[in-house]
Symmetry: C2
Subunit: 292 residues, 2 copies
């Protein structure tokens, strides 16, 4: 297992983590500058943040700073997604040289707006599978891997109906059934493992191993689960402030062959988004060393 | 599948559902009277509500009204539980002639108080298994079945580290490995299936079938998942107000051999506990007919 205690070379910042500084929107350009200044080598930007600045400008600045991407957030929301939007997400991920496009797959149509069009979760899951299958052909042609991110079961209604790593891997095997010996570069479909979404899963260790055997570990996201958690979406904790044994899970991921960035992704309307962005960055760096 | 549309003979009220009326505590005696008046044949009381009135008085009134129990809530919280308290829970369940003692098994010690003593979820799961094993001998001798209730993964840190039906059944098979052909009365250990905790599970149908093959379906709880859900504990919805396809799940449970009560269990600090208890009861009866 890599030693993270001495530096932060394997820290990536998911740019949602400081999308606000002191409660005010922080433009992606400022986030990129701040990361470069703090010696953070990689980021994972959100589409809305990229659009607010403009793709060309973001791309230029990423190159100027020599930043890498650990992912691009996000494609998906399939039951309601438009094909054009998904194409654009792929285009942007390619332009920014992302290693993968992270898929948050969506769930019951309308549920995110508070009014589900139906209650047929099995149907939504079938539609998601079909949606990934359709996008996969384009992604394969563009050599842009898709990373299915299983979300915590508390998001099953409105954000993602793929809720366990086992379920995500079942979809991978169905749609992208390469023999296990095939080279990693050939994997068009894999998974993003976020400790916040998966830490509770009694089968997590075995499913991470399964993902590794198939070379499907495309991204690793960290934050922490707070007790109590006061909001289902925007109360994620800083690493070390909650109950997740992050080093143990990172050990499983690395044993399974993952050697990429540890991406900090925190949504926190009541705490971290209210603080100064630079203070948050410094804390991320400290906690990356002590608690990841 | 039984027709619930014509009457409410298979409705049981978990008494937490109207533990408050118009925001004020409603004594269990009043709840029992209200159930009898509305033709509700069964209840599942909580220990704290029983203690507030006194076991003897509760027992007397249950018998006077001819009420049945669909369960008794609850034993468990093992990593921190005292043996004496668990014995008392068993005693009370026997005195009230409950069909099972529902176990909410606990998780990381201290997490419910906001400060987890450690982050070793695997250890907590081992301790829970050992705690159930110790209680099981007494429960078997008293002929009081224990029903493990898997709780939603969002409670994995602080309330229950058994979070899927598969995981609960693994524990059942380990600790109570009767051959499948043995009579139901011989089952000392089974499960309580609550749609709120389990609806998201992609393996729910198959695991309900597995539970049925082993005669381990001891209780069936209903309420609904709201979108958005604004509180992790006290924002459960009335059946029909959320996204859970309850009739589908009840069909699975009945196909697996369950023929008991459908127990309404709603915690709702912002809505139902603010209304008049009798209005809530009438709504439960209506929704039992239309949405369960």
């Amino acid at each position: 297992m890599r030693d993270f205690s001495q530096d932060h070379r394997w820290l990536s910042l998911n740019t949602a983590t400081i999308r606000k500084s002191r409660g005010q929107d922080l433009p992606l350009t400022s986030i990129l500058d701040a990361c470069a200044e703090r010696g953070i080598r990689a980021i994972s930007p959100w589409r809305d943040q990229v659009h607010a600045v403009g793709l060309a400008e973001v791309s230029r600045r990423i190159q100027a700073h020599g930043l890498e991407l650990s992912g691009y957030c996000r494609g998906g929301m399939f039951p309601a997604a438009d094909a054009q939007g998904l194409q654009a997400a792929l285009d942007e991920a390619c332009e920014l040289n992302a290693p993968c496009l992270v898929l948050v797959v969506g769930a019951l149509p309308g549920a995110l707006q508070g009014q589900a069009a139906h209650k047929d979760l099995a149907l939504a899951r079938t539609q998601v599978r079909d949606g990934i299958a359709a996008l996969l052909e384009d992604a394969r042609a563009r050599r842009m891997p898709l990373a299915i991110e299983p979300l915590h079961p508390m998001y099953a209604a409105d954000r993602a109906c793929i809720n366990t790593l086992a379920q995500a891997l079942d979809v991978c095997e169905l749609l992208d059934p390469l023999p296990p010996g095939a080279p990693r570069a050939a994997r068009a479909l894999g998974v993003a493992v976020d400790v916040y979404h998966t830490w509770w899963d009694p089968k997590l260790a075995e499913q991470i191993a399964r993902a590794g055997q198939q070379d499907r570990l495309l991204a690793f996201h960290v934050c922490d689960w707070l007790t109590p958690t006061t909001d289902l979406l925007n109360d994620r904790g800083m690493m070390g402030d909650g109950v997740i044994d992050i080093p143990r899970i990172r050990g499983w991921v690395e044993d399974a062959g993952f050697a990429g960035y540890s991406e900090v992704e925190i949504f926190s309307s009541g705490n971290w988004w209210q603080r100064d962005g630079d203070e948050v960055l410094r804390t991320c760096i400290d906690r990356h060393r002590s608690s990841v």
